[in-house]
């Protein structure tokens, strides 16, 4: 089994608080992998370590077998790992079409081209438009991002990450805050992601997790507690204990 993303004994502490302890996570190519854990288990810290926002105290991160531990965040994105954010991180002042086009331009390393106007890059603009179409955002292509309804913004959040055609996609609670009747849209988008993309889903919503993931890792107190197929994890007494120790399943 070839790995898309791997961490080796990753550690990170903030002062006396060990947020990540010896985490060794393996995500296969084309995986549908979920990372769950109670609040404060260190999920966000782990994502920040993977994407390079934080530097680990020890351990390594490998993307497609190459060590990327020392690489800057933007280089990791260029190497094929993109992410969405739990709290929308969109470009106020840009339109959805521009936001998606930006990611495509960077994928092609066109970002420093300064002579030809955006529109003359027809291939890129068409691809951006097609992507918005797929996400049901075509009619909002020119609406300023800030004025989109929250559910649409959530979709755009994923569209921008997908536009980079990643090998590894990190989805940080994609359905967070989305009302019940709009969740199916997010769900179908997530399920319809290309099969060769390894998806690591960080989620509280257990319905989403169990309908999507073929493999689940459970993070508790900064370390990996259990990893396995969904039914194994669901039946594991240690997982139950970890969750029951806290609030009921989100």
């Amino acid at each position: 089994m070839s790995l898309a993303l791997e961490t080796v004994a990753l550690c990170k502490s903030f002062g006396a608080l060990a947020a990540t302890r010896e985490v060794s996570l393996r995500v296969a190519r084309g995986a549908r992998h979920a990372l769950i854990g109670p609040n404060g288990a260190g999920k966000t810290t782990l994502i920040n370590l993977l994407t390079g926002v934080l530097r680990p105290d020890a351990g390594r991160v490998l993307l497609g077998g190459t060590d990327i531990t020392e690489l800057a965040p933007h280089t990791r994105a260029r190497r094929g790992m993109t992410r969405t954010f739990q709290i929308n991180q969109l470009f106020a002042g840009l339109t959805p079409l521009e936001s998606v086009a930006l990611a495509i331009f960077e994928r092609h390393r066109f970002g420093r081209h300064w002579w030809r106007p955006l529109a003359s890059h027809t291939a890129v603009m068409d691809e951006a438009a097609a992507l918005l179409q797929r996400f049901g955002l075509a009619n909002a292509a020119h609406t300023p991002v800030a004025t989109l309804p929250y559910g649409r913004q959530r979709l755009l959040e994923i569209a921008v990450a997908i536009a980079g055609q990643p090998h590894v996609l990190l989805l940080d609670e994609p359905a967070a805050g989305v009302p019940e009747d709009e969740r199916h849209e997010i769900l179908s988008i997530v399920k319809g992601l290309p099969g060769d993309v390894a998806v690591l889903l960080i989620e509280h919503d257990m319905d989403l997790v169990f309908s999507f993931a073929r493999r689940i890792s459970v993070l508790v107190d900064g370390s990996l507690l259990v990893e396995g197929a969904p039914d194994e994890v669901a039946g594991d007494p240690r997982v139950r204990a970890a969750y029951l120790g806290e609030a009921p399943l989100g």
Binding site: A77, E106, G111, D126
Partner: protein
């Protein structure tokens, strides 16, 4: 959708009207050529700040540093034998660009506050330098003996300012068109993305630092070109080109016209200079007070609202001339 985009980048009617009016101004007011020259130079300077503030979100309190370096470079080149204006302009802009490139690394990191301190500090440092090395710069007396060769070997710089005015306007137009290309390109898009949300821009692969260094360098070159134009067309450079006031004034100019659409600096420069021309005639000494009051009032009234009002008035005016239907 593609057609929609083509429409968005083509030079629209209103832009044509703007430039026709701009080019007609010297013909309409032949007695005000020196003022129009100054407006063009200030407009170029403000355009340079717009690239930084409007497109990359970098606040600067010391943009005069690059203006001043450009001015002294142009003045010194001419004084020491290189009197060809265009070559001098190019070299001066390059000198400012080098300074911009070197100092950009200090501006990259840190908050707005550190940027304020660093940009202001660099500006003051250069002023101090120019003051100390008065054997080179002429110090407080200014750089004397700047003599320019005729432009393109054909047009001598005259006292009425005909050549000066045409020269500055032409350079402004060329550099404006270049900037217009720049901000509408993928590069410009990535700048706006970094300004809007640096974290996200980086996570789709935008090398934010590299982009900021690039635009800072380009903006410095533009400011340097503006300074060079001032030195060449007035054939004099004084310490005043590096003064803090110049940095503050250009901020005001940009705020007057509105930032982030390139024309703001140009419109702001015209308003500012005409106002200065008028007010300075009334109370030459206390011009500064009115600038201050204007800043305070603009901010309290809402910067956006003032700029939008000015822009709307402008749009209505040019629409009428362009024969477009008013909505």
């Amino acid at each position: 959708m593609a057609a929609d985009w083509v429409r968005r980048i083509a030079v629209n009617h209103r832009e044509w009207v703007f430039w026709i009016v701009a080019i007609a101004l010297p013909l309409l007011f032949p007695g005000k050529l020196l003022l129009i020259n100054e407006i063009a130079i200030l407009a170029l300077f403000a355009l340079s700040l717009d690239l930084l503030l409007g497109y990359a979100g970098i606040i600067s309190l010391g943009h005069a540093a690059f203006f001043g370096v450009g001015a002294y470079a142009a003045g010194l080149l001419a004084k020491h034998g290189l009197a060809e204006p265009l070559v001098g302009l190019l070299l001066s802009a390059a000198a400012a660009a080098v300074l911009g490139f070197l100092t950009s690394f200090l501006v990259l990191r840190g908050s707005d506050l550190t940027r304020l301190m660093v940009t202001m500090g660099i500006g003051l440092m250069l002023l101090e330098l120019a003051n100390r090395f008065d054997t080179i710069t002429g110090g407080a007396d200014g750089l004397q003996g700047v003599v320019m060769a005729p432009l393109l070997g054909l047009f001598a710089f005259d006292l009425a300012g005909r050549t000066a005015c045409a020269y500055s306007m032409a350079i402004l137009l060329v550099l404006f068109l270049l900037a217009r290309r720049l901000v509408r390109s993928p590069f410009g898009l990535s700048l706006r993305a970094v300004k809007a949300n640096r974290l996200r821009a980086v996570s789709v692969g935008v090398p934010a630092d590299t982009r900021l260094v690039t635009i800072y360098t380009i903006a410095a070159a533009y400011a340097g070109a503006a300074g060079a134009l001032l030195a060449q067309t007035t054939q004099f450079v004084s310490l005043d080109v590096l003064d803090f006031h110049r940095s503050a004034d250009v901020l005001l100019v940009l705020v007057l016209g509105g930032s982030g659409y390139l024309y703001g600096g140009l419109i702001g420069a015209a308003i500012f200079k005409v106002m200065q021309d008028w007010l300075a005639a009334q109370t030459p000494q206390y011009w500064q007070f009115w600038i201050g009051l204007l800043l305070v009032v603009i901010v309290l009234a809402g910067r956006e609202r003032v700029a939008v009002a000015i822009r709307r008035r402008w749009t209505a005016l040019t629409r009428r001339f362009a024969g477009e239907p008013t909505p």
